[in-house]
Symmetry: C2
Subunit: 226 residues, 2 copies
């Protein structure tokens, strides 16, 4: 039998007694369940079934179902951060407010693509947010990125007079509110249909940032250029 050289064994064979990477397999299975049917349809037993282990095995790696869901949230938050970072990297403009909308684009894009997973990330009553270094770090990165853009916009005299702390909170709440309205099923009405939701969300955030700009015409131009 070929023994793996130095690194880690792989479960290539039908499966030995030890799984080898159960923790990651459980997270992957739980994420798949979340994406497929929402957080309510996640079951430790079903995830264990999909990982090919007994129903007690997961508890060697997760103290509770909540700990598993926290890991699911960590994965989601990392993807959310990556989506934002991607849009930011793809943004040619250096205009802080243009880049701020790129943050919004990345945020909405991931929430729209993974609504049920996004709900797990957003709801801090079901997970141990403050106990997770990864969640605190990645969420902090998003916040500080926004804050830095606001600070630069103010330094560059791009904003009309305002309280930066208030504006920052407004921006966060507006983005969170729009995303949550989507994933909570508020967009099935005559005024904002499910199909029109993405455009409406982007439009609302764009209008907000435009209202912040000292020279909204110039910002409009910069946005159209980008």
């Amino acid at each position: 039998m070929a023994v793996a050289p130095g690194t880690r064994r792989k479960p290539a064979e039908p499966r030995a007694y030890h799984h080898g990477a159960l923790r990651n397999a459980m997270i992957a299975a739980a994420v798949a369940l979340v994406e497929g049917g929402g957080a309510e349809s996640v079951t430790v037993r079903e995830a264990a079934r999909r990982a090919g282990v007994s129903s007690g095995a997961p508890f060697r790696h997760f103290a509770s179902k909540g700990a598993l869901m926290t890991a699911v949230a960590e994965e989601g938050m990392a993807k959310l951060r990556a989506s934002i970072a991607g849009k930011l990297a793809a943004c040619a403009s250096e205009h802080p407010l243009v880049r701020l909308l790129a943050v919004g684009d990345g945020y909405f894009a991931w929430a729209i693509a993974h609504p049920t997973h996004y709900r797990v990330v957003g709801d801090r009553t079901q997970i141990d947010f403050w106990g997770s270094e990864a969640l605190v770090r990645d969420n902090g990165w998003i916040r500080s990125e926004m804050l830095a853009l606001f600070a630069r916009a103010e330094k560059d005299k791009l904003l009309r007079p305002c309280d930066l702390r208030v504006v920052h909170l407004q921006c966060r709440a507006l983005a969170y509110g729009l995303a949550r309205m989507l994933v909570d099923g508020h967009f099935r009405e005559f005024d904002v249909s499910a199909k029109a939701a993405p455009d409406a969300m982007r439009g609302a955030l764009r209008a907000f940032v435009l209202s912040l700009a000292r020279d909204s015409a110039a910002l409009t131009k910069a946005l159209d250029a980008a």
Copy 2:
């Protein structure tokens, strides 16, 4: 579903075989559980226990646990509407934007006072929102009330140029986002502590409405007067 014309039986005695008002008792018990420990801690069996009936009895009145939770949401939505109506009635001013902030006050006041119940009302993935006449009606009332105020503000030339549909969505999303950030546990950070949350929420909404006003100084005055 014929409604009895005259009086309904009351469970005055220690309890006969028939409860007499199980449906309402179940809703009350479920609401108490929601307020006490969140929606996750609601159990049909526990609610039945508190109502003093067997665990199968509730299913004579609710097709499923989801139907019970929908009834819980109906009660919450009615209270939310009443809270808004109260603030609106207590608002002396006729200025549409002042009254709009009164709507926000009523909305936030109830969400802050009943965070776990508010979550049930807001999450339309767990309840049969569109199947509930009461939910659709009361939620529609709130929306149309806001819309009417925006329309009047525009007619009275109180708004700076804007797309009313976009502004309406922004306002809804901002309020929903702020309330949900609260009930989802996002306000335990250094920038917005749990204690400062109510003020921050009102401040953010107020700043938003002020930014909409053509004459924000006049609106500030009207707000201080009210």
